[in-house]
Amino acid sequence: MGSLRQGTLTAVLRNVPILMFAGTFVVFGLLTPRFLEYQSLENIAKQASYIGIIAVGETVVLLTAGIDLSVGSNMYVSAVAAGLLMERFAISPLPALLVCLTVGLLFGLFNAFAVTRLHIIPFVVTLATQFAGRGLGWMLSKSRAVTFPQSVTGLGAAELLGIPAPVVIFAVVVLLAWVVLTRTTLGRQIYAVGHGLEAARKAGVDTRRVQATAYIICGVLASLGGFVSVAQLGNVNSGFGQMVEFQAIAAAVLGGASLFGGIGNVFPGTVLGALLIQMVWAGLVATRTDLYLQPLIAAAIIFLAVLLDSVRNTVLARLGRHNIRVEE
């Protein structure tokens, strides 16, 4: 009887992120019925897709107990590189995408090199690459806006089986990341490294390779997210990608990832985190909330989500303590 109630409580707590998500959706829906339509969900998913893709990469790095502050600069530089090549040499979208991803890869490689070979803490490494990357991007673009041709923006508006292309890409990235994290040795090793670097090394894990892979994945996904964003926006100006690192980290942490590594998941965690943030903003616009109040309300909702999450963890831990005794 008591255990039944406890069971319900546990079930509720375990699903707090989903409930939070649904709750917010319903509240906004009650205020603006139109918000409940399929179309608005699709819009939210579409707009959250690029941040979500980057947040997936960020989650992988956070899982190794690292952090990547350079994703914003990364997406700017790689988008500029691709855009300039398209402007100058009129290359088609696919090679441009490859260029974009290559730049992201290089970014990731550099971060990985500095973290695993030079042993500099990730925060400092990626702070430095954030500065340098932004400067590099400005140097390439002369800080002008780079415009992408119709062939790219067409991709942003394209649909696959009635689902917008950005959402499809987002879903594919999430699926791949989920498979990698839960269904490959590498993925399990990423968790192990985040759980304890020294322990992982003793267990025979090539920790350098694992860490390096995480930064490279993050780098590539940042540039992919950048490209998806560009395909929707049509141009890249000099502030492109600023503050994205905070949004990505916020999405990952809202999804339950720990900044100390080893804890977190891409699905549903990070996906929900990214969608929740986007939904709050969309909801505030849809309900025509006073502009000056919007950031205040958004912050309050996110605060509530984080608070619920921490309450959940405390309560679950306490329930767990009791359960161990009962099992014996």
Partner: protein
């Protein structure tokens, strides 16, 4: 003791010293008596600033003047520090695009105290307590004009029905954005019979935010038929949202959304020419740049230390009506045609 690592450190330090020394040496090469002007800007987020930056630096360099560029990245304090650094380098004159009017007063004061003539571009100091050369455009007035034309079109087309207006608001931390919003609302208030309550969409001067918020707004209010953007540089995003909804139509096509913006960049010009946009508020960028540069150079030449002169860029609203005669006054037109 690990000699290998120690040597590596020393080598690194040494190499760094050499690089820095080399860079500074090569920089020092340029003549000491050359005229030097510091150009401090707050950022280069939009086409308007990029074009202004280009116009000013290129013109000055063409005249053989050394230009020290300082990007404050939207931080008024950093801008103050940068201008002070420039003063320490004993530049001959300063041009700034200030972050806002209040910090401009302080920065101008710094230059006054050091006796260096200073010119303020596009954003005026919030009062005249410190003398400076100033060129301003009245953002509120220009926005008002552009929106007023759009309202006129609406009244003619609408035949008594009410319109549902939407404004893409800029970063509320930016005073120009606030002034443009105010200009827009002035028109709304003058025509209460014509407009419903406007929908405000925050852009934070960020295309991604604009795209997301505009999409959400149109989802909630699909019947928007009157749209004003606080800056022209957001047109690509507006198009990206309107097109799939079937609302990206030329002026004479059914379902056209009355469109207007402010800045007068090349995108806006193209779109007006193609017939998508009804009106755009234009600041005369090149006029502003040339006027201010000339005023500053004259002051330096005659040895004025704290010149004062407030000049106004009247600006105007370029509309489908006056496009034929006034398009060439639009800087976006000229950027397009110079290239």
């Amino acid at each position: 003791m690990n000699m290998g690592k120690l040597l590596l450190i020393v080598a690194l330090l040494g190499a760094f010293g050499v690089v820095v020394g080399g860079v500074s040496c090569s920089r020092r090469g340029s003549g000491e008596d050359q005229l030097t002007i510091c150009f401090g800007f707050q950022d280069l987020e939009t086409e308007f600033w990029v074009a202004g930056h280009k116009a000013i630096t290129e013109t000055l360099r063409a005249k053989g003047i050394r230009v020290l560029e300082r990007n404050a990245n939207q931080d008024a304090n950093r801008q103050l520090e940068q201008i002070r650094d420039a003063i320490a380098q004993e530049v001959n004159g300063i041009i700034i695009i200030p972050q806002d009017g209040e910090s401009a007063v302080t920065i101008v004061g710094e230059a006054n105290r050091a006796g260096i003539p200073i010119a303020v571009f596009n954003r005026p100091p919030s009062d005249r307590s410190n003398p400076a050369l100033v060129i301003v455009a009245d953002n509120e007035k220009i926005a008002d004009e552009a929106v007023a034309y759009m309202a006129k079109v609406a009244r003619e087309k609408g035949k008594g029905r009410k319109w549902k207006p939407l404004i893409v608001v800029g970063d509320l931390g930016d005073r120009n954005a606030v002034a443009r919003r105010k200009g827009f609302f002035n028109v709304m208030e003058r025509n209460p019979d014509l407009f419903e309550t406007p929908i405000e969409v925050p852009s934070k001067w960020d295309p991604a935010t604009t795209l997301a918020n505009l999409e959400a707004a149109l989802q909630a209010n699909p019947d928007v038929d009157f749209l004003f953007t606080s800056s022209d540089f957001l047109y690509p995003q507006i198009k990206a949202v309107l097109e799939p909804l079937g609302k990206w139509k030329k002026i004479d096509e059914p379902g056209h959304v009355i469109l207007g913006g402010l800045d007068g960049d090349s995108t806006a010009y193209t779109l007006m020419k193609e017939g998508y946009v009804d009106a755009t508020g234009v600041q005369d960028l090149f006029f502003e740049a040339n006027t201010i540069m000339e005023a500053l150079l004259t002051a330096i030449e005659v040895g004025q230390k704290t010149p004062e002169n407030w000049m106004e860029d009247p600006g105007f609203a370029l509309t489908q009506e006056n496009m034929a005669e006034r398009a060439d006054e639009m800087w976006g037109y000229r950027v397009l045609h110079d290239e």
